[in-house]
């Protein structure tokens, strides 16, 4: 099933590349992502009914395994459903940013990107993961560069180079792990580390390996201060690309990292070995990212750069959750992947709609926008409130999960930065909303209500994303149970 998803997306990508017509390319993009979403859901149901599935090609050290457990299904559904909604939204938006001739290329790259992201998550063997990571980096940089303006060619190149730096760090880590454990397979590594007590005999190797992998992932997933490429790339890319980049691409690398850390080392060793130190560093850097990302976001005047810096802060949350290193911490981080994906993709698409309709990116000139584009700004409000962590929106559940994880691990001091971060989020999302609906400009606005609104059918995918924000906000139970099961399976590999 997992292979079917990857193949489907790859075939779709090739088809989109070769077709000459932009209309056909759009159809291929939409159809393939829809099929992908359906396949992902079917796969999830299968796994829930008959347990994790695994396929192996070849044998020995170089055998490649695809392992579909709960976490993989969760990510596949996320890539499938959110990816489909973004591609749907891009139907009406993409011609604003990308020339007609480049549209087939855009959809080809998007599909290739989704395919490689799925592969990053599905592969159990490190070689396959690494190849997918590399391919996804190119595709991801591609959907930035496809806009073909000087600024985003620069941004794309910056992204590509730092991304390659990140992957090479990851590769070095993998090689050291291979030397230490003799396995290129997360399950094998787990057996070696947890079973043969390698943590005692070869702790230096393992720390170096995980240190390098952490550094590499920090670049790929934009953990502060390795985030420097993100605001440029996400800020200048076409809005649907920004949505995919921030809500999906970053997450694939994080899930890979979670699998390496928690699948490979396991909770027990994390709590009682030098790994704890490494994760403490990850946790503290995550906290710094959480605060610094938001402070930088407050300083922005460009709406897309502001949202991009907000992503830097949200990545900080996720790394903090990983760094806590307990089951609750991992759960909070995984849940936040979902929460950030549905919220941030919606925000980027809203920002794209605003820029498209008003030709203005400057936050200070967005007064009265709530009168011109009430539905769009209502969607922005939902996203913003979710980011702040207001109950009924999914961001609140994230905040609660992080708070529980912190309390559960006795790191009470982390509650203060978490509160400050909620405040900082409010400081850059609320003023936009207030200025749009209330301030002086809104009062003086003479144009009729909704005069610059996009047609509802174009806004529909964004509305659906907002519905997801509320749906997961009021009923997170099933997803939480699913993720908890996933964590059990993930960490059970080595036992």
């Amino acid at each position: 099933m997992g292979i079917a998803i990857i193949l489907l997306l790859m075939i779709g990508a090739v088809a989109a590349f070769v077709c000459k017509n932009d209309k056909t390319a759009r159809l291929i993009g939409l159809g393939t992502t829809l099929l992908n979403a359906i396949l992902a859901v079917i796969m999830t149901v299968t796994v829930m009914n008959s347990g994790p599935q695994s396929v192996t090609f070849g044998s020995g050290t170089w055998a490649q395994t695809i392992n579909i457990g709960y976490i993989e299904c969760f990510m596949a559904c996320l890539f499938g459903i959110v990816g489909f909604l973004i591609v749907w939204a891009s139907m009406s938006m993409i011609s604003h940013d990308v020339e007609e001739k480049k549209i087939p290329m855009f959809y080809g790259l998007v599909l290739a990107l989704l395919g490689t992201l799925n592969a990053v998550v599905f592969f159990e063997s490190l070689l396959g993961v690494f190849v997918s990571i590399e391919l996804s980096s190119f595709a991801a940089a591609g959907i930035v560069i496809v806009k073909n303006q000087t600024e985003n060619v620069h941004a794309g190149l910056k992204y590509l180079s730092l991304s390659i730096l990140g992957s090479s760090l990851v590769l070095m880590g993998m090689v050291i792990l291979f030397v230490a454990t003799g396995s290129l397979h997360i399950g094998g590594i787990a057996k070696a580390i947890q079973g043969n007590n390698l943590m005692a005999s070869k702790s230096a190797y393992i720390l170096w390996a995980y240190g390098l992998i952490s550094a590499g992932v920090a670049f790929k997933a934009a953990l502060f201060p390795c985030h420097i490429w993100l605001p440029d790339a996400h800020g200048t890319a076409p809005s649907p690309s920004s949505a995919i980049l921030s809500s999906l691409v970053l997450k694939a690398y994080i899930v890979f990292y979670m699998k390496m850390v928690f699948g490979g080392v396991g909770f027990n060793l994390i709590a009682n070995s030098p790994m704890r130190m490494l994760l403490n560093v990850v946790m503290v850097v995550g906290v710094v990212a959480m605060i610094a990302g938001s402070v930088l976001a407050i300083m922005q005047t460009d709406i897309k750069r502001m949202i991009a810096y907000s992503s830097v802060a949200q990545m900080g949350y996720i790394f903090m959750g990983i760094g806590i290193g307990t089951e609750l911490g991992l759960f909070a981080a995984l849940f936040h992947i979902l929460s950030h994906a549905v919220t941030k993709s919606g925000l980027f698409l809203v920002a794209g709609s605003i820029i498209e309709q008003t030709h203005n990116r400057d936050l200070n000139k967005m007064g009265g926008l709530g009168i011109l584009m009430p539905v769009t700004m209502a969607l922005f409000t939902i996203g913003g409130l979710s980011m702040i962590g207001i109950p009924l929106f999914v961001g609140f559940n994230s905040k609660w999960n992080f708070a529980s994880a912190i309390v559960g691990s006795n790191n009470y001091w982390l509650l203060i930065p978490l509160s400050i971060s909620a405040l900082l989020n409010a400081l850059y999302y609320l003023p936009v909303v207030i200025r749009a609906f209330f301030g002086q400009e809104a009062k003086e606005c003479t144009e009729p209500l909704g005069s610059k609104e996009r047609p509802i059918k174009d806004l529909l995918p964004i509305i659906l994303l907002a519905c997801l924000v509320i749906l997961f906000g009021v009923a997170s139970g099933p997803v939480s149970d699913f993720l908890q099961k996933g964590i059990e399976i993930l960490t059970a590999i080595g036992r």
């Binding site: 559940n397 905040k399 609660w400 509650l415 509160s419 909620a422």
Partner: protein, 485 residues
């Protein structure tokens, strides 16, 4: 039957949205709609409070063990009824007052919406539901604080957002800790729901301080009080109802819920957390009164007075005894009626004369007799002259502080109460005395030419409130009876 609990919450929110959308051009038709909505809602609240206590309604499970849940208990019902009655008076008053502020559709839209959010807070059956409405209270009141759109209003709004959101986040951390320490639930039950083994546990103490200072932001406890005096730039009905009754009391109410209904007073009595909270209250009591004395701007003076008075209530709550609880709650209701009256009088003066500073009020008692007599009655009540409300709350607080065995800070509280009573007398009576007796040779004609009492839209609510203040003592036995744990 249970679903009826939703009506008082949903009805005002829907009505508020309708006002914003409909954008009434005719004041008369808006007034008709607003007053119908508010009065109907208040009647429903009071009927529910009388006949439906104990009903429970569970909605969406947003967090494991902590669904959105409503339950009408004695404290909630009492608070909801009083708030509803005050809401009617304030709406009536606002019809006249808001004529000089403008943009009435927005004002009444959010003012009515806040009513529903407030009912959500009083009906909440667990801390997560309470937190939900607490956050929405901040959001719904932001447009009210920045109503004037002046530079000060914008600054005040920014400060209000910073304090409120940060406070709510702190409180949420405390709630998460309480949920973690217990079995995950944060439901309310008199005397607390946590097991006795947790008595004095570090996690509970930390959790209490997080919730105390988190919710304490809304009730302006030091060092998180700064937003309240700033927010007095809002239109007077907002200062009166929200910044003397609804919003600030929501913070006090939440702290009472945490102390007596979730954690339980027995688990925290005598701990360091209690001392810290008591210390903060005591400092705030004196500081607020001193600042009120120093403020020459009338509404700011009243706002600082609120800062001080709110900490009286908190002081009672944090004493963690039955007496302290009663003292705090009596003051919660007494202060609500008294302070709203003082603010509405100040509003009447601003509305008729545009004067905002204390020194401009010389001799105004002869020009605006109704307003100033009501102001004087309310001043007597706040200072604590028997048989007016302030006297009883001070009585109970004193008894509670004196009986407080666990903590020597109770005695410090007594001193603070005495000092604050003195300061309160000075900062309020100086206004009354100057208004009626401006001194020899004062030229009434010249200084207050054309100044008159406002029309019945304002004087009727003021008179009703004055009567309520005087008759408060009659209701006191039943109030205490209902509120006893």
């Amino acid at each position: 039957m249970n679903i009826l609990l939703l009506i008082p919450i949903v009805l005002p929110i829907v009505a508020g949205i309708h006002i914003l959308k409909r954008n009434y051009k005719e004041p008369k038709s808006r007034e008709k709609f607003v007053s119908t909505a508010v009065i109907v809602n208040a009647i429903i609240v009071i009927l529910l409070s009388l006949f439906a206590r104990g009903t429970q309604l569970t909605l969406l499970p947003i967090i494991p063990n902590n669904p959105i849940q409503f339950k009408l208990d004695n404290l909630g019902a009492m608070f909801a009824s009083v708030v509803s009655l005050l809401w009617i008076l304030c709406i009536y008053y606002s019809f006249e007052y808001m004529k000089h502020e403008g943009d009435e559709n927005r004002f009444f839209g959010f003012y009515v919406m806040t009513f529903g959010v407030m009912m959500g807070i009083t009906f909440a059956a667990n801390l997560v539901t309470l937190y939900l409405f607490y956050e929405f209270l901040t959001l719904a009141t932001i447009p009210l604080v920045m109503h004037g759109d002046s530079i000060q209003a914008k600054t005040a709004t920014r400060i209000y957002i910073i304090f409120s959101v940060f406070g709510a986040a702190l409180a949420l951390m405390g709630i998460a800790m309480i949920a973690f320490a217990g079995n995950g639930s944060t439901a309310f039950a008199a005397g607390g729901i946590l097991p006795k083994v947790l008595t004095g546990a570090t996690i509970l103490q930390v959790a209490y301080l997080f919730t105390f200072f988190g919710f304490g932001v809304k009730s302006a406890v030091m060092p998180f009080h700064a937003w309240l005096p700033c927010a007095s730039v809002a239109p007077t009905p907002v200062s009166a109802l929200l910044h003397a009754v609804a919003v600030v009391k929501a913070g006090v109410f939440a702290i009472a819920r945490v102390t007596y209904f979730t954690i339980g007073p027995d688990l925290l009595r005598g701990t360091i957390a209690q001392s810290v909270a008591l210390g903060a209250c005591i400092i705030t009591i004196v500081y607020g009164s001193a600042m009120a004395l120093m403020s020459q701007h009338l509404k700011r003076r009243l706002a600082y007075s609120t800062v001080s008075q709110l900490s009286y209530i908190l002081f009672g709550i944090v004493l963690m005894s039955a007496d302290g609880y009663i003292g705090g709650m009596v003051h919660l209701f007494g202060h609500a009626i008294v302070k709203i009256t003082l603010f509405l009088c100040a509003g009447a003066i601003i509305y008729k004369t545009g004067r905002e500073y204390v020194w401009e009020l010389k001799g105004i008692g002869r020009a605006m007799p109704v307003t100033m007599i009501v102001f004087t009655i309310a001043s007597f009540a706040l200072v604590g002259i028997p048989p007016l409300p302030g006297f009883f709350s001070k009585w109970y607080l004193t008894v509670a502080a004196f009986h407080n065995q666990g903590n020597a800070l109770g005695y410090a509280g007594l001193v603070a109460l005495a000092v604050s009573a003195l300061l309160t007398a000075i900062y309020l009576f100086s206004i009354c005395v100057n208004a009626f007796m401006p001194g020899n040779g004062f030229d009434y004609e010249e200084s207050n030419k054309g100044v008159r009492d406002p029309n019945r839209y304002m004087t009727i609510p003021l008179t009703i409130l004055a009567v309520a203040i005087v008759l408060f003592a009659l209701c006191l036995p039943s109030l205490i009876n209902i509120l006893s744990l």
